[in-house]
């Protein structure tokens, strides 16, 4: 079985700006630090499933409207 490699992409920055929320407000709401939200927005860090769901819930969107998985190659 071949191993699927890829990365988790997200639309958090666009959704956050659309909603007029700061990184700190989002961080406080989902229980993370502002630095962590920044790292997720820059796609340097992939959040846990639990944090990802909390972020999607903050935006009142379906999970896949916020996050998507793209395969390499």
């Amino acid at each position: 079985m071949s191993k699927a490699t890829g990365r988790v992409r997200n639309h958090i920055r666009e959704l956050r700006l659309e909603r007029g929320a700061s990184q700190q407000e989002l961080a406080d709401e989902v229980g993370a630090s502002r630095q962590t939200i920044n790292a997720i927005e820059q796609e340097k860090y992939s959040p846990s499933l639990e944090l990802a769901f909390r972020i999607a819930r903050f935006f009142k969107r379906d999970f896949e409207d916020v996050f998507r998985f793209t395969k390499d190659g």
Binding site: G31, A32, S33, Q35, T36, A39, K44, Y45, P47, S48, L51
Partner: protein, 159 residues
């Protein structure tokens, strides 16, 4: 820069200073800023070694206390603890662990080979004397902490 990263920079400075102090006290060689340190271990009496050991313990304890309760009293690092911080702490603990394991194994191989081939007298760093044991083990512990700190800073930049 997060409070964790700032604290790590202070800790790196503290451990670098202590490792410099240790080598300055127990080795001889090049003279920098009026202090001599280098590849030769100075054999010292037990009282001096105990003083050196105690001074290092004291410096580490006071340094950590200052960093924690003076520099970060208003902004406790624990408040920032979330899953990314925990991930970075775990990864850097692993790096520190493997650096420690590597360092101790290096000392074992060095001690065994120097005994087997009888070249201990010519070795620049003799780890078998009490001063050598103190120097080598404390150096491994400090390098372990420094490696851990560097990996924390790198992980905050990259993940």
């Amino acid at each position: 820069m997060s409070a964790r990263e700032k604290r790590t920079w202070f800790k790196l400075a503290l451990w670098s200073f202590i490792i410099f102090f240790l080598w300055m006290r127990l080795t001889d060689g090049v003279t920098i800023l009026g202090q001599s340190f280098g590849p030769s271990v100075i054999d010292q009496d037990v009282v001096t070694l105990l003083w050196t050991y105690g001074s290092i313990g004291g410096m580490a304890a006071i340094g950590q206390l200052i960093i924690r309760s003076v520099l970060f009293a208003r902004n406790p690092v624990e408040e920032e603890l979330d899953e990314r911080n925990v991930f970075i702490e775990r990864k850097s603990d692993q790096v520190g662990y493997w650096v420690g394991v590597g360092g101790i194994n290096l000392l074992i191989v060095h001690a065994l080979l120097s005994e087997r081939f009888k070249f201990r007298e010519n070795m620049p760093l003799d780890f078998v004397s009490p001063a050598g044991i103190l120097l080598s083990l404390l150096t491994v512990f400090m390098v372990q902490e420094i490696a851990r700190g560097i990996s924390i800073l790198l992980l905050y930049r990259r993940s």
